[in-house]
């Protein structure tokens, strides 16, 4: 597995894809931040994420885009393995196909972490340009918020890895990144819950990856943190088991 990780890290930092995604992310979010689209820009902290309450959807959009772009990266490199045929070389040598998934997940985590750091740094710079105060409730809260996002990013990556391995269609997988990352299913459940007056659907919607992501704030709330950790780990485990199952049974 270490060999695969080294190989993919070389690809990550020596090919333009990650940098292109960072640039795209930066331009998109930078524009939103400067034009005040991302919620109430009262502080630099507010640019990074919701300060004390879940707020509206736009305040969590920035982080959602970070998760989505991280997932896009990982499905892209898997898609490249299959489209070039290099997957044949990989899976001939590495008899345990689960190794492939685990290695991709590790590299995806690193890519997502890079995007997360980039996002925070970008928001700090933009906030400073706008003359906004720092406004971070606590450093511990910020760290826990970011770690929670990283955990959910890993879970989302694992889910999309399974998706890409199943369908092996990059455009569909990228669409799925937006669907799951922006919370298409989450919104649907929530809307159904409201329109059909079934409150439990709304509760269930908060246990999706996007739903959990929308809960996190920069203020330490133990219940929210526990919720995010449980959801993140549960989705990660589920996605890994499913992905390994698919990988072992699907032909190359």
């Amino acid at each position: 597995m270490l060999n695969l990780i080294k190989m993919d890290l070389r690809r990550t930092f020596r090919t333009p894809l990650l940098y292109a995604l960072l640039l795209g992310l930066g331009v998109m979010l930078g524009t939103f931040a400067m034009t005040g689209v991302m919620g109430e820009n009262q502080s630099i902290a507010a640019l990074i994420g919701p300060v004390s309450s879940t707020g509206d959807m736009m305040s969590t959009m920035g982080m959602s885009m970070v998760l989505i772009f991280g997932a896009i990266y990982i499905v892209s490199i898997i898609g490249k393995d299959f489209s070039t045929g290099f997957i044949k070389n990989i899976l001939t040598i590495h008899a345990n196909k689960s190794t492939y998934i685990m290695a991709k997940l590790v590299v995806g985590t690193i890519a997502s972490a890079c995007m997360l750091v980039f996002y925070v740094v970008l928001m700090v710079i933009l906030g400073m340009i706008q003359g906004l105060p720092l406004g971070i409730p606590s450093i511990g809260g910020l760290v826990l918020f970011l770690l929670g996002k990283l955990l959910l990013a890993i879970a989302l990556n694992a889910l999309l890895i399974g998706f890409e391995l199943t369908f092996r269609n990059l455009p569909i997988s990228i669409l799925a990144c937006f669907m799951f990352g922006m919370g298409g299913a989450t919104m649907l459940l929530s809307m159904l819950g409201n329109s059909l007056n079934i409150p439990i659907l709304h509760t269930i919607s908060t246990f999706t990856i996007a739903g959990s992501s929308s809960i996190g704030t920069l203020t330490v709330a133990v219940g929210d943190i526990v919720h995010i950790v449980i959801c993140g780990v549960a989705w990660l485990v589920f996605s890994l088991i499913t992905g390994c199952f698919i990988m072992k049974r699907k032909d190359v």
């Binding site: 270490l2 060999n3 695969l4 080294k6 190989m7 070389r10 690809r11 090919t15 490249k80 070039t84 045929g85 290099f86 997957i87 044949k88 070389n89 990989i90 899976l91 001939t92 040598i93 590495h94 008899a95 345990n96 049974r249 032909d251 190359v252």
Partner: protein, 303 residues
């Protein structure tokens, strides 16, 4: 020891058998020529051996161990269907990716050696998508040589190569087989080239192995034979058998009698004329691999 052994290997796609109860025996250190028509099941068999396809039934052993043995699998170099190259990467970078995949330590020197061996050391930063088919094929072969493999599985590796390239690859494969004892399972349509290097052959037809034969046995079977085209093959067969007293193997097809290891055409002609049998043609043959393969496809083992 056998490098590759399959027992009753079978695989179907959408209910249609692609490989059916295939038994293959590839001796360690051999160059095994895997021959068959398009769609016969060669690539499917090779993919199953590499673990890329799951067999419906049967067993695969590599060097006496299970086909899933991690250590053995890490020592396989493979080209299946087409070269697996990153199009925007140079030859060196493609080789580096494979080297890292294999966990080759200090790969730089090894990569440069192999690039020189396959004639790609002067491609510099040129992207592989700009390579000719022959260059891509050579790069793919170079990739298989990284990591000191024990076994190479090559699906038509000389596709797209010019005659010079074919000779170079042939010489390279022969060299690594002789000097390093690497076992090579190679499928090819260029039977003439294959016959120059293969030590063993497996002939597959419609997913079934119809014959496995080594070089010496093939040479024995491909010795001279005579074909006598006659209108009455039954009568001609009787007359010839009587005259030759069972000393030569005789085979009869629809319009001809074939006599193995026999060269006296004049005697046969006189014999037939004396018995009132008209022979439209008497021809001497020496079968090569192509003719042997065609004969095998038609179910004729000797002619």
């Amino acid at each position: 020891m056998l490098a590759i052994e399959t027992q009753k290997l079978s695989r179907s796609f959408k209910g249609k058998p692609a490989v059916s109860s295939l038994n293959m025996h590839v001796p360690n250190g051999s160059i095994y020529g895997f021959i068959g028509q398009n769609g016969a099941g060669k690539s499917t068999t090779q993919k199953m051996i590499c673990g890329l396809l799951h067999p419906d039934e049967g067993k695969i052993s590599l060097y006496g161990k299970s086909g899933d043995d991690a250590e053995i699998r890490s020592k396989i170099g493979v080209i299946i269907e087409s070269p697996a190259l990153f199009p925007n990467a140079s030859a060196y970078e493609n080789m580096m990716m494979q080297a890292m995949n294999l966990g080759v330590s200090n790969p730089d020197k090894k990569i440069k050696e192999i690039l020189k061996l396959v004639g790609l050391s002067d491609t510099d930063k040129k992207k592989s998508k700009l390579f000719s088919l022959g260059m891509k094929q050579r790069l793919a072969i170079g990739q298989t040589l990284l990591g000191d493999p024990r076994l190479l599985i090559l699906d038509e590796p000389t596709n797209g190569l010019d005659p010079q390239g074919i000779i170079e690859i042939r010489n390279t494969l022969q060299k690594i087989n002789t000097e390093q004892g690497i076992t090579i399972l190679i499928s090819s349509h260029i039977l003439g080239e294959l016959s120059r290097i293969a030590t063993h052959y497996g002939i597959i037809k419609q997913g079934e192995m119809i014959e496995e034969i080594d070089k010496e046995a093939l040479r024995e079977k491909c010795k001279e034979y005579m074909t006598v085209h006659v209108s009455d093959t039954h009568k001609a067969e009787g007359v010839i058998r009587l005259a030759l007293e069972g000393k030569h193997e005789i085979e009869v097809t629809e319009d001809a009698v074939h006599i193995h290891h026999y060269q006296d055409g004049e005697k046969i002609n006189r014999l037939l004329v004396d018995n009132g049998i008209y022979a439209s043609e008497i021809k001497q043959h020496k079968m090569d691999l192509e003719e042997y393969f065609l004969a095998a496809m038609e179910g004729r083992t000797h002619a």
